[in-house]
Amino acid sequence: MSAVPIVTLRPAEATPAMLASAIRNVVGAATVQTGKVKIDVPPLVENGNTVPLTVTVASPMTENDYVKSIHVFNEKNPQPNVGNFYLGPRAGRAQISTRIRLADTQKIVAIARLSDGSFWSVSADVVVTLAACTEEVI
């Protein structure tokens, strides 16, 4: 988004600070370790309006050791949150898929909360281009 001085209710672009604070809302003061989580996303998207995304967490998914939730964030959309997904021991496999919107080339972050209270994360860089021929605004 351009730096036009219009007063808006929300900023046109998320900042790294917004991303950090959105992550803090989920993890609190806990340390987030890297590992266990995998993001499957095309490195160069066909269209930023619909980007297939799969997040997988390595976990036995037993009664005592399972993934409680997966939280997905982005860096440059107007808002840092993408989705929160709540699993549990009945899930069998800690994997979710969805389709997301990405406004620009940016980083996606996925954070998993495990049953033992630990947090694990991974990030992926995605290149997003605009479509060549766009429509007239309706």
Partner: protein, 263 residues
């Protein structure tokens, strides 16, 4: 006896003049034609391949419900005349736009649906690109999935195919660009980040990721014209139907993919 019968029928067909569309020097040779599907990334192809993941199927489901709903002052449903669409509509979309005798010109599938509504259901026409019209067109189109396209072979359509071809070949607009400059001469190159395809409309109406919605071929053509910075035809304009007809005839013999997914 049977072989003589077959030869006689073949002779009749030739005499009736069913023509395979002529190929101009600049057009893509039949053997090199590729559906827009082949230009897509594996992730996007996967969306089209799975009927439970293809958002276009949501419109097909809506269309299936509309097919059975009574409407208009005649209080009739499509199903009342056409029964099970799986049987009655198979192959129909593959030969549209088709010649309408009363109007003396081609009509596309959406126009045919509205003509049916007016003549047989006494119902008001559905607006172009309305959800209901797209749903019915997607439902009818999907009944032809896999059927080879034969639109344009009717000899009565020849002058209209020619007009559509002229529009396709003609340089126009602020960029002095003809459709052929990209879609015949430069397919498989890229325009910014997007692949330039061969302009073979095998899967309409389709779910376009850019629209995040299902849309018609006419909507896509109007998009193209915006990009070419040329005069955009109104929905339903004869020039647009002729262009649709020519484009479908370009895709002669290729299988229908409705509802396709495209970026």
């Amino acid at each position: 006896m049977r072989s003589i019968h077959t030869i006689a029928v073949a002779g009749l067909l030739l005499a009736a003049g069913f023509a395979i569309p002529r190929l101009l020097a600049t057009e893509i040779p039949q053997a090199e034609r590729r559906s827009g599907y082949t230009f897509m990334s594996p992730d996007t192809k996967a969306i089209q391949d799975d009927d439970t993941a293809n958002p276009g199927m949501l419109w097909v489901l809506d269309g299936e419900a509309l097919w059975k709903r009574k409407t208009g002052t005649a209080d009739k449903a499509c199903a009342d005349c056409h029964d099970d669409a799986r049987a009655s509509m198979k192959g129909v979309a593959a030969r549209y736009p088709a010649f309408d005798r009363t109007l003396g010109r081609p009509v596309n599938l959406e126009q045919r649906i509205n003509l049916c509504r007016a003549q047989h259901q006494q119902a008001t026409p559905l607006p172009y690109e309305s959800r209901d019209l797209l749903a019915l067109a997607a439902f009818v189109g999907q009944q032809s999935r896999g059927v080879p396209i034969t639109a344009g072979t009717d000899p009565q359509l020849e002058p209209f195919v020619a007009k559509g071809r002229d529009t396709f070949m003609r340089r126009q607009g602020q960029l002095n660009l003809g459709c052929t400059n990209c879609h015949n001469d430069n397919w498989d190159k890229h325009l910014a980040g997007s692949a330039v395809t061969q302009a073979l409309p095998t899967g309409y109406p389709l779910y376009r990721l850019e629209w995040q919605s299902l849309g018609s071929l006419q909507r896509r053509l109007r998009n193209c014209m915006t990009g070419m910075r040329t005069q955009i035809y109104d929905y339903g304009a004869p020039e647009l139907v002729e262009l649709e007809l020519y484009l479908m005839s370009r895709a002669h013999d290729m299988p229908v993919e409705t509802p396709a997914v495209r970026p």
